[in-house]
Symmetry: C2
Amino acid sequence: MVAQAQRHSGHEHPRPRSAAVVDDIVGQLSDRGYRDTEPRRLVISAVAAQGRPFTAEELCASLPCVGRATVYRGLRLLVETDQVCRVLLEDRELRYQLSHQGHHHHLLCAVCGASADLEGCDVEDMLREAATAAGFRMSGHWLEVYGRCGECAEG
Amino acid sequence: MVAQAQRHSGHEHPRPRSAAVVDDIVGQLSDRGYRDTEPRRLVISAVAAQGRPFTAEELCASLPCVGRATVYRGLRLLVETDQVCRVLLEDRELRYQLSHQGHHHHLLCAVCGASADLEGCDVEDMLREAATAAGFRMSGHWLEVYGRCGECAEG
DNA sequence: ACAGAATTGATACCAAATATCATATGTACA
DNA sequence: TGTACATATGATATTTGGTATCAATTCTGT
Ligand SMILES: [Mn+2]
Ligand SMILES: [Mn+2]
Ligand SMILES: [Zn+2]
Ligand SMILES: [Zn+2]
C-alpha cells in the first residue's frame, strides 16, 4: 500500500522552529565536511520557508543578498546530500522541496502547485521484473504523478 | 504483464524501407492538415535514421540544410501527433525517438544509450489508487526506468 | 495559373544553469 | 589566540536549449 505522507501546500501552518531545521541540516553538512557559512544558512533557511515546490530562480529572488551562483551551488549540495528533492513538472520545469528522506515520488497539483509525497515505492518490484524481462538490469527510476489536489478538483 | 517491445539500439540492422516510414508519417500528418514539405521530410527522415534516442541539437547538426527553428518545430509536431516520444535521461537531458504508439515507458541503458519500450503501463492503476488515497485526482504520470542493457550488464 | 494560408529560416531573443577567478571566510592547529 | 590555507563566495561572462519575429517562400485547393 502506498501511503500519503507530508503535504506541502500553501495552506498549512508555518513550520515549527524553522531555525531548528536549519541547524539540523547545517549539522548534517558539517558532518560531511561542508562549512557552516552565512550564505549557506540563508539558502537553507529560505528553502525551509517555502510552502510548496519552488524553482531555483524563485529562491534567488527571495535571497537578494546571496549570489546566484551560491544559491545554485547550495541547492545542488542539498540535493546531493538528500536534504532536498527535485520535482519535475509536466512542462519539464524543475522545482525543489525539502526532502522527507528516502526514495519516494510526488503527486503534483497542476492547478495550485501543491505536492504530496508518495512514500514507499511499490512500483519498484514491478519495474525490476519488467526490466529483467526486457534483458535489462534496472538501477533506478524516475516517476512523477500529475493531477489535481482535493481542493482544486472541486468545481 | 509488462512486455518488451521494439528495441532501439545502435547494434540493430538498418530499418527496412526508411522511405516508407517517412511516407507513412507524412501521410498521417497530411490527414491532419499538415503540409508535405521538403524540410519536414528531411526532419522525419533524419529522425527515422537514428538508432537510439537523440537530442534536438544532434538532429540539427545532422540537418545542416534545415533551419534550427524548423527542426524544433518539426520535432514538436511529431511529438504532438504521437509519432515521436520524448525520453528523459537521468541527468535531465531530453531526447527523442520514433514512437511505437500508445502510452508506454522507457528502459534506458546508462552505458550505451540504448532504449527499450515498456508497453502496457501496469503502474497506472496502482498510481491512481495511491493518488486517490492522498486526495488527488490523477491525470497522468511520467516514468523512466534506468539501468543497463543486456550487453552492457556483462562485465 | 492563382489566391491565400501554412511553412520556412535568419536573426534576435530568452531563461536556466555553469565556468571563471579574484576576494573573503571558516577551520584546524601551532 | 593568531595564522595558514583550503573552502566558499559572488560579480561576471559564457554556454546551452529553446522560443518569438517576420519577411520571403512554398503548398494546396480551386
Ligand atoms: Mn519529495
Ligand atoms: Mn517510446
Ligand atoms: Zn491544487
Ligand atoms: Zn547498453
